[in-house]
């Protein structure tokens, strides 16, 4: 593990990659603070601009946005009583109360300290878990990948809110969109409607920017959530010794919960925060104060959601199964850069894998520096009206989509998907399973057919291979569990990510 981390430090500490981490964290903090602009939309928007940079730099920056947003979100939660991100909903409860009592600075500092320590522990957990997974890498052939994808797609159902039929429907829409273009195995053109622009299939960027970025803009503009609220000023950042004593156990509990929840496919950051808050309410010595400005109510959930943000990379990087829509986008980014996600990533691209993990440590440190002294500056951002913000975002999106293939056709397609994304929201259809279907569907088919070519048409290959059989059994288990009533409750919470 140490040798691996050294590879990572080597890769992540290059000036260029440190700068990408800084850019990602800064941008993440920014969008985290601004309500109505989430990491999902931002990562979609930035994807096309990562074409020109190397895959490691790209992933470092995108990851920085992801966990940076979790930091920034809590600042808004504490000062404005609005969740900058869904993951900081829980922080509002005690964080805003602390702010109203003149302890806004302390609350922000607590959130940063909790996030930092949890982020560091989370990174170490990722490093420790990843190595054993790497040893099975070479045993992953087409049959194993197929079964893994089955688990991923079924897991995607658990990601979605609302009805299971809707989620399955969205996955199928994604799979169909993923089929557009020339079939790898037979050379058949599918759903191209005589349009040569579609021969190579749909660009991931076009779909992601359309559904998430455009969709979110339309949604925000129509919902009227563009007014900003009063901001409580934050001064006096330093927590007292007593504050430190009170937050430490909460941070430790939150980190443990977050690390565990993050690994579960389908669970997200807000689940981790909720669990942690619930636990604090049960076990904390100051539980009576919870809800009226208890520091535990900030420290625990903030630690939990940051630890989860780190450990969510375990299933994404090592198995190729994203735990949340944001992770699905990270997966898409890897595929875009010609990196096949899965256990082989660690052996085929060790500097990428470990570099990304180490960059999270560096990123967490940067976030503390960015968040504490600069808090006043960040808060001023909340005064920019949305009507000034969205045209810039829109233009930026169009540039990005065009840059991917130098094709105006793609911009039109993205606009179409934007409309579709808005409709999905109105119809209460979560688009996350669709993205998963789009990424995983073609891989599922490819591996299914490759496994059968290599086994000369023998279907038993999927259950004969032990790893493959285990995954298929797991898939059945998830199906059964999510059909139970308790599973349904859990799913509606996850959908908030």
């Amino acid at each position: 593990m140490l040798a691996n981390l050294m590879i990572g430090f080597d890769a992540a500490l290059s000036l260029q990659n440190v700068l990408y981490a800084l850019m990602g964290c800064t941008l993440g903090t920014l969008i985290g603070i601004l309500p109505g602009l989430g990491p999902l939309a931002t990562i979609s928007m930035l994807l096309p601009f990562t074409y020109g940079i190397d895959p490691l730099g790209a992933l470092i920056m995108l990851a920085g946005i992801y966990y940076g947003a979790a930091y920034g979100g809590s600042t808004t939660a504490i000062l404005v009583n609005l969740p900058g991100e869904t993951s900081s909903v829980v922080t509002i409860i005690d964080g805003y109360q602390m702010a109203r009592r003149g302890r806004a600075g302390v609350a922000i500092a607590t959130a940063a300290i909790a996030s930092f320590s949890a982020g560091c522990v989370g990174t170490i957990v990722v490093a420790a878990f990843a190595a054993p997974l790497a040893t099975v890498a070479y045993r992953f052939g087409a049959a194993e990948y197929f079964s893994l994808m089955v688990v991923g797609l079924i897991g995607a159902v658990s990601l979605s809110s609302g009805s299971i039929p809707k989620a399955i429907g969205m996955i199928l829409v994604g799979v169909i969109l993923g089929c557009v273009g020339t079939d790898l195995n037979s050379g058949t053109l599918r759903f191209t409607f005589g349009q040569p622009h579609l021969w190579e299939g749909l660009e991931f960027i076009v779909l992601a920017v359309g559904v998430f970025a455009f969709g979110e803009i339309i949604q925000t503009l129509t919902s009227g959530e563009t007014q900003h609220q009063d901001v409580i000023p934050a001064d006096h950042l330093m927590p007292s010794r007593r504050d430190f004593r009170r937050m430490t156990p909460s941070i430790m509990r939150g980190t443990a919960i977050g690390s565990m929840v993050g690994v579960l496919p389908g669970a997200g950051l807000s689940i981790a925060s909720f669990f942690s808050y619930a636990l604090e309410k049960k076990v904390s010595r100051h539980r009576a104060e919870m809800g009226s400005g208890a520091i535990e109510g900030v420290a625990g959930p903030e630690a939990a959601n940051n630890a989860a943000a780190q450990t969510a990379f375990i299933p994404t990087l090592s198995l190729g199964i994203p735990g949340s829509p944001t992770m699905a986008l990270m997966l898409g980014a890897m595929v875009m850069h010609n990196i096949q996600p899965g256990p082989r990533v660690m052996t085929s691209n060790p500097d990428l894998f470990w570099g990304l993990i180490v960059s999270m440590l560096i990123g967490n440190l940067m976030l503390v520096i960015l968040n504490l002294p600069l808090v006043g500056l960040w808060v001023r951002l909340l005064k920019i009206p949305y009507r000034a913000l969205f045209p810039a975002i829109l233009l930026f999106c169009c540039m990005g989509v065009y840059a991917a293939q130098f094709s105006t056709f793609d911009i039109m397609l993205a606009a179409g998907f934007g409309l579709a994304g808005f409709l999905f929201k109105k119809l209460d259809c979560d688009p996350a399973p669709m993205i998963l279907g789009f990424v995983l569907g073609p891989m599922l088919e490819e591996n299914f057919r490759r496994a059968l070519v290599l086994s000369e048409g023998d279907f038993s290959v999927f259950v004969r291979e032990p790893i493959s059989a285990t995954f298929l059994a797991l898939a059945v288990l998830i199906l059964v569990l999510s059909a139970l009533p308790r599973g349904r409750q859990r799913r509606s919470l996850i959908a908030e990510e």
């Binding site: 052939g141 020339t182 790898l184 050379g187 058949t188 040569p196 190579e200």
Partner: protein, 319 residues
């Protein structure tokens, strides 16, 4: 057919005041269309050529990426451009394999585009997994007679598919193609013992050969590879017909005055054969190979005919 076309072009050319046109060429901006996205060997080599043609002619040469439909969109754009030599296509050997597999191309690869010159060539090498009982091509042929051999490709109709199919065809053996999204995936499956062999570009395969996860059988070229000096060629192994080199070349719209075509050809040959160009190409795993307009035209058209035949025999096609 080729002769007819040349005659036709010459006849057309005779009706125009051409001498002056060729002498002044280029007196305007020349556009080099690259039918792929930026990055990758085609783009890198194409940009190098454009940059050096500009110096050579003391003129402006711009690069325009027109990706899509596996090079068909950029190729069709050049095929429909004004036939004056100011719009050039820089494309790889996928031009001839696509011509054989895609029946619905928005242009005719033989009739609509005039081959001008060869920019560079690259070598392929056949590799097998350590689990395959073969140290050379002869062993592989023996193995293939006793059991089914699977070879990896990077998709139906890709260069690697044709290279593998050609080898099987010439050696008179049956091999089953297994399609992968990229060469790295095929190489990993070979290392894992699930796939038997792969014929791919030397730069792509090199690190796996050096790591010992695959063993090289033969270079599918007339000369040995500088990167793999101990590996024999298919010619040495007695399979001259299995030679498969990838190339990058320049085309323009048919009907372009022959003098202009000759002038561009001379320019390409001048800038791509310098020691500096050789060093640059070596980094891309390629090397210079100057060709006359006639030689390159014959090469391209012969390849298209050869791939069309092989595609029919092995049912390699886009439907």
């Amino acid at each position: 057919m080729t002769l007819m076309k040349t005659l036709l072009a010459a006849a057309l050319a005779a009706t125009l005041p051409l001498g002056a046109v060729a002498q002044d060429f280029p007196d305007d901006t020349v556009t080099v269309v690259i039918p792929f996205t930026p990055g990758g060997s085609n783009d890198t080599i194409g940009r190098y050529l454009a940059e050096n043609l500009a110096k050579h002619w003391d003129s402006t040469v711009v690069v325009e990426n027109k990706p899509g439909a596996g090079s068909a969109i950029g190729s069709a754009y050049v095929a429909n451009a004004e036939p004056n030599g100011y719009t050039l296509l820089f494309v790889s050997a996928t031009f001839t394999t696509n011509a054989a597999t895609q029946p619905n191309l928005p242009f005719d690869p033989v009739e609509d585009l005039q081959p001008i010159g060869m920019g560079a060539v690259g070598q392929f090498v056949a590799v097998a997994g350590n689990h395959v009982e073969a140290e050379n091509l002869a062993d592989l042929i023996e193995t293939a007679k006793s059991r089914k051999v699977f070879y990896g490709t990077t998709g139906v109709g890709s260069s690697t598919h044709f290279a593998g199919a050609l080898l099987a065809d010439v050696a008179g053996i049956e091999m089953e193609p297994v399609h992968y999204p990229g060469g790295t995936d095929a190489l990993l499956d070979i290392a894992g013992g699930r796939l038997d062999m792969y014929v791919g570009s030397v730069p792509q395969v090199l690190s796996s050969v050096q790591a010992g996860t695959v063993k090289p059988l033969a270079v599918t070229s007339e000369t040995r590879s500088k990167a793999l000096p101990d590996v024999p060629t298919v010619v040495e192994e007695g399979l001259e017909e299995a030679v498969f080199d990838i190339w990058w070349g320049v085309f323009t719209a048919s009907g372009t005055p022959p003098e202009v075509v000759e002038k561009i050809n001379a320019g390409i040959n001048a800038v791509m054969t310098t020691p500096e160009a050789e060093a640059f190409l070596a980094k891309q795993g390629a090397m210079p190979r100057a060709m006359s307009v006639e030689a390159f035209t014959d090469h391209v058209h012969a390849e298209i005919a050869k791939w069309r035949k092989l595609a029919t025999q092995h049912d390699i096609r886009v439907k």
